[in-house]
């Protein structure tokens, strides 16, 4: 625990963490100091002047809170007439050259200028002269659109490209009220994290080409989830909306703070994987190329399952821990072999030192925890004599070429139980749609052995059956997810002391030792 210091805020005793600036220290106990340019991941810049606070007996008596560390005994004044007037004055100056085009601005509803105007300003415009005209809808590249007139020049985006991605595409040119954020000629934003500037922008100056004009922020339900784009397990918000007479649709992913996983950011590729959740979905069951009802498909799966002599259950590294355990137990009960073979999910060399991982699956670490084999040799030996391959979300076509798949088809029937229109779904004898992770609850373990839980975000009008239910229908021993969790806690040594039913939002870091002990 960090050391505590006692401050006086507006005359009241407040105990805060030392070593933090006043915005973070006082903010942690629920007292807001308005600010535009400061961001905890980008440090203090001190340009917006919105966080000026009074320090009683201080030298100087007026300081930017972002640049001032909390010190024992400090008397911070936020509610004096002087500070309130400064906040109002700064807001007025922020707004005189702002287009105030909230009705057509995507940021409306989640805009600091709007929020602060309501909270700290509220006065009528005194602007009787023409505002400064600047460039609008500039395509900055990487799907980022910039509006210079809305910009408050807080330089968060500039600092992001300098400090975080270290690519430095953005800068502020010109002085005075001609100052503007721009790119170098012919050098657009070109980094794999560029869309974070849209989240970082406190106003509507940076918008996402993909998202803009699609939804108003206040209509969006913001559900917590985990990105499944790679094995980092970045924490996200799934912003979705079910409009009247329409289905529940995801409009964007946004990063959600988790200091031990992804910090404040996510990569652009992961951010765009929301599209897979909406489109490219396996929506209908098929038997021998013909559309059928889900019930009929389930019956067909049950029939081939009971008739098969030797079954290979192919599990995806994207399945949740619970799904893997249920499939594993089902296989054991039916003398089937489970394989997690999924080499095609790994793009060697694609990862970087920040968030992006080579492994494009979310839960491969659970293979180790549950002792599931994912080697090619293991899969090939399991195929010998097999007459049924049931894939649980595993798109084998990513790992094998057409010829290899054809060879398997010669000997065995392929059943695909999945959420997406993958290659395997196209050719399987039976396809059965199940809920995707955005519609389901589950546990995944990321590349750094951090165990996290995601919950149901999207509720479709016609919800797909979840994968655990299918396993139950095939004769699996667990009636529901709770039973799987109980079993996991009881049988997996690394999870013995973990309450899987109450996983903290920041996740649980498993030690390498715990994971390898069980896998061995």
């Amino acid at each position: 625990m960090a050391e505590k210091v006692k401050l006086f805020v507006n005359g009241q005793d407040v105990e805060v963490e030392s070593g933090k600036n006043l915005i973070d220290a006082i903010g942690a106990v629920g007292i807001e100091i308005p600010h535009l340019c400061y961001h905890p991941a980008l440090g203090a810049d001190g340009n917006c002047r919105m966080c000026l606070v009074g320090i009683e007996d201080g030298r100087p008596p007026l300081v930017p809170a972002c640049k001032t560390m909390a010190v024992e005994g400090m008397k911070v004044q936020l509610d004096t007439d002087k500070i309130k007037k400064i906040q109002r004055d700064i807001m007025e100056l922020e707004l005189i050259n702002h287009p105030i085009d909230c009705p057509i601005c995507d940021q409306a509803g989640e805009c600091k200028l709007q929020d602060y105007y309501m909270e700290y300003d509220g006065q009528k415009s005194r602007m009787t002269v023409p505002p400064v005209a600047k460039a609008k809808h500039m395509d900055f590249g990487a799907g980022v659109v910039h509006d210079q007139e809305r910009c408050v020049l807080c330089a968060r985006c500039v600092r992001f490209t300098r400090l975080i991605t270290k690519t430095g595409e953005l800068g502020i040119v010109n002085r005075t009220d001609s100052a503007r954020v721009t790119t170098f000629p012919g050098r657009p934003l070109a980094n794999r994290y560029a869309l974070n500037v849209v989240d970082l922008c406190p106003v509507g100056a940076m918008t996402s080409k993909d998202f803009r004009f699609k939804q108003r922020a206040w209509f969006l339900a913001k559900s917590e989830s985990l990105c499944h784009g790679c094995s980092k397990g970045c924490n996200i918000y799934i912003d979705h909306n079910k409009e009247k007479y329409k289905d529940d649709i995801i409009y964007r992913f946004r990063p959600r703070l988790n200091q031990q996983v992804n910090g404040y950011f996510i990569c652009d590729e992961g951010r765009m994987t929301y599209k897979l959740e909406n489109d490219n979905r396996l929506n209908v069951a098929q038997v021998a190329g013909k559309e059928t009802s889900v019930n009929e498909a389930v019956e067909n799966v049950r029939r081939v399952f009971s008739q098969a002599k030797k079954i290979v259950m192919l599990i995806s590294p994207n399945c949740s821990l619970e799904q893997m355990q249920a499939v594993k137990k089902l296989a054991t009960a039916n003398n089937a072999v489970v394989s997690g073979y999924s080499d095609g999910y790994i793009k060697t060399g694609d990862g970087d030192l920040f968030l992006i991982q080579d492994d494009k699956s979310a839960n491969r670490a659970a293979f180790g925890l549950l002792g599931l084999d994912s080697s090619k040799a293991g899969f090939e030996s399991a195929l010998v004599e097999a007459d049924l391959v049931i894939s649980f979300q595993n798109d084998l076509c990513r790992s094998l070429d057409d010829a290899d798949i054809a060879k398997i088809q010669d000997k065995a029937k392929i059943v695909y139980i999945g959420s997406y229109k993958d290659g395997l779904g196209e050719i399987a004898a039976i396809t059965l749609p199940v809920a995707a992770y955005s519609e389901d609850t589950g546990i995944i373990i990321n590349a750094d052995n951090i165990l996290q839980q995601y919950d149901v975000a999207v509720r479709k009008n016609d919800p797909a059956i979840d994968l655990l239910q299918i396993v139950t229908l095939l004769g699996g021993e667990f009636k529901n997810r709770e039973e799987v969790l109980t079993d996991l806690s009881a049988t997996i040594a690394a999870l013995n002391n973990i309450d899987l039913k109450h996983i903290p939002s920041e996740g649980i870091a498993l030690t390498d030792k715990e994971v390898s002990n069980v896998a061995a």
């Binding site: 640049k67 004055d89 100056l93 002269v129 408050v152 005075t176």
Partner: protein, 423 residues
């Protein structure tokens, strides 16, 4: 009234050349300097009472003593030659007419603060000055006053000239450091102060050209000789640039403490025939204006200016007579500071442009009394809310014109009202 301390060699032909400068006393004091301990040099400068000549008037010796003790990092000297304040034209004379006085001063200062690298940040527009200065530095290197062994001592000193690119803000000491480091010239938040964390993160002293050029005289003749000029709290001499509507505008060296009006009359030749005094800008465009009544009792020193709620500034005196339109003067003034705002802090970036547009509106005959009141309020709203004092350098004088010459603003507003009713 005029004296010859800083300007002693100004009238000597070719004094910018090292032989001529040396014949007339340049570099003569260095032997004495190197026989002293650095701390003794600092003490002597403290005793002389020399105050920073860049405008703020901070005691030079005291500034040097703020350097951290037991410092392991290099110490830098940055000489501020970014003289850009409107009505200020003193340092340019030193740079062209006696650059060796400044180089000698740099050697003295660096020895005192234990610095081996000095940067001269020179205003980009000073193209003539930079040539003369660089030639003088080259001469000083050739003569062994700069380089690996200064005056044969075991003391290295390198001097680098860094040309600005034309931004007034780079005269602000931390913006100056940013610019030397190759970044956009924008002031840094303080603390940390440059004496602790300045150029390249190292302790740095930033002194004005005239402060540095004053050092050889002090070291040669002692603190008392320097204090013989000026007043108790404002000792020494100063290069005053007197401009505006006087008969003999120009640069004059004067001891501090002389009566302002007497100087204008006797040194600058007084007002043109038939004209009356409207006001005096005492120390560069950023200092609040003095009315003729206030000017009666003002003397040219820091304490008298402060007592009259203005500032000594940079010694750039501008005399305004009855032909001056104060509202247009204010427009010109805000135009300058608006143009030169670095654009970093919201109040200065947005506010000065707003003020300029309001003044233009008033001049255009579309102003109202509310606009005048808004100008006054904006001065308060902007001032001292920013990282540096550029915005205050605009709002302080503007407020003084609004307070002392409000009737001129109202005349613009009222003439418009009568026009409208006539229509």
């Amino acid at each position: 009234m005029q004296v010859k301390v800083l300007s002693a060699r100004f009238d000597i032909p070719d004094a910018h050349k090292i032989e001529v400068a040396k014949e007339n006393g340049a570099y003569a004091t260095l032997e004495k300097v190197f026989s002293m301990q650095p701390i003794e040099v600092i003490e002597l400068v403290k005793q002389s009472g020399l105050r920073g000549r860049g405008g703020a008037g901070f005691p030079t010796g005291l500034k040097w003593s703020f350097l951290p003790k037991n410092n392991q990092k290099p110490v830098y000297l940055a000489v501020n030659s970014d003289e850009s304040e409107p009505a200020t034209f003193k340092d340019r004379h030193i740079l062209v007419l006696d650059p060796h006085a400044m180089i000698e001063g740099i050697i003295i200062c660096c020895y005192a603060i234990n610095s081996h690298d000095a940067y001269i940040y020179i205003r980009g527009e000073y193209t003539t000055q930079v040539k003369v200065l660089q030639a003088a530095i080259d001469e000083a290197y050739a003569a062994g006053y700069l380089g690996a062994s200064v005056c044969g001592q075991d003391y290295r000193l390198d001097v680098t000239v860094h040309r600005g690119a034309g931004a007034y803000i780079c005269g602000e000491e931390t913006a100056l450091l940013e610019s030397i480091e190759g970044r956009k010239g924008q002031p840094r938040s303080k603390p940390p102060f440059p004496a602790v964390e300045g150029l390249y993160g190292c302790p740095t002293i930033i002194n004005n050209v005239q402060s540095i050029a004053s050092l050889p005289f002090i070291l040669t003749n002692g603190a008392d000789a320097y204090k013989a000029f000026g007043t108790e709290k404002s000792p020494g001499t100063h290069l005053f640039g007197i401009s505006g509507l006087v008969k003999k505008p120009g640069m004059y060296e004067l001891p501090l403490g002389l009566p302002l009006l007497e100087v204008i009359e006797k040194v600058a030749g007084g007002l043109r025939e038939g004209r009356t005094l409207k006001g005096i800008i005492p120390g560069g465009s950023s200092t609040p204006v003095l009315t003729p009544e206030e000017a009666q009792t003002v003397t040219l020193d820091y304490e008298s200016m402060a007592a009259h709620k203005t500032m000594f500034g940079s010694g750039g005196i501008v005399v305004l007579d009855d032909t001056v339109d104060i509202v247009k003067l204010v427009e010109n003034l805000i135009h300058f500071y608006h143009h030169e705002s670095c654009g970093q802090c919201t109040p200065c970036r947005e506010g000065l442009g707003w003020m300029l547009k309001i003044v233009k509106k008033i001049i255009g005959g579309n102003g109202t009394t509310a606009d005048i009141n808004l100008l006054v309020e904006l001065c308060d709203n902007i001032e001292m809310k920013t990282v540096c004092v550029l915005s205050a350098a605009c709002t302080m004088p503007v407020r003084s014109y609004l307070n002392k010459f409000r009737h001129e603003f109202e005349a613009y507003v009222k003439s418009d009202v009568s026009c409208q009713t006539a229509m």
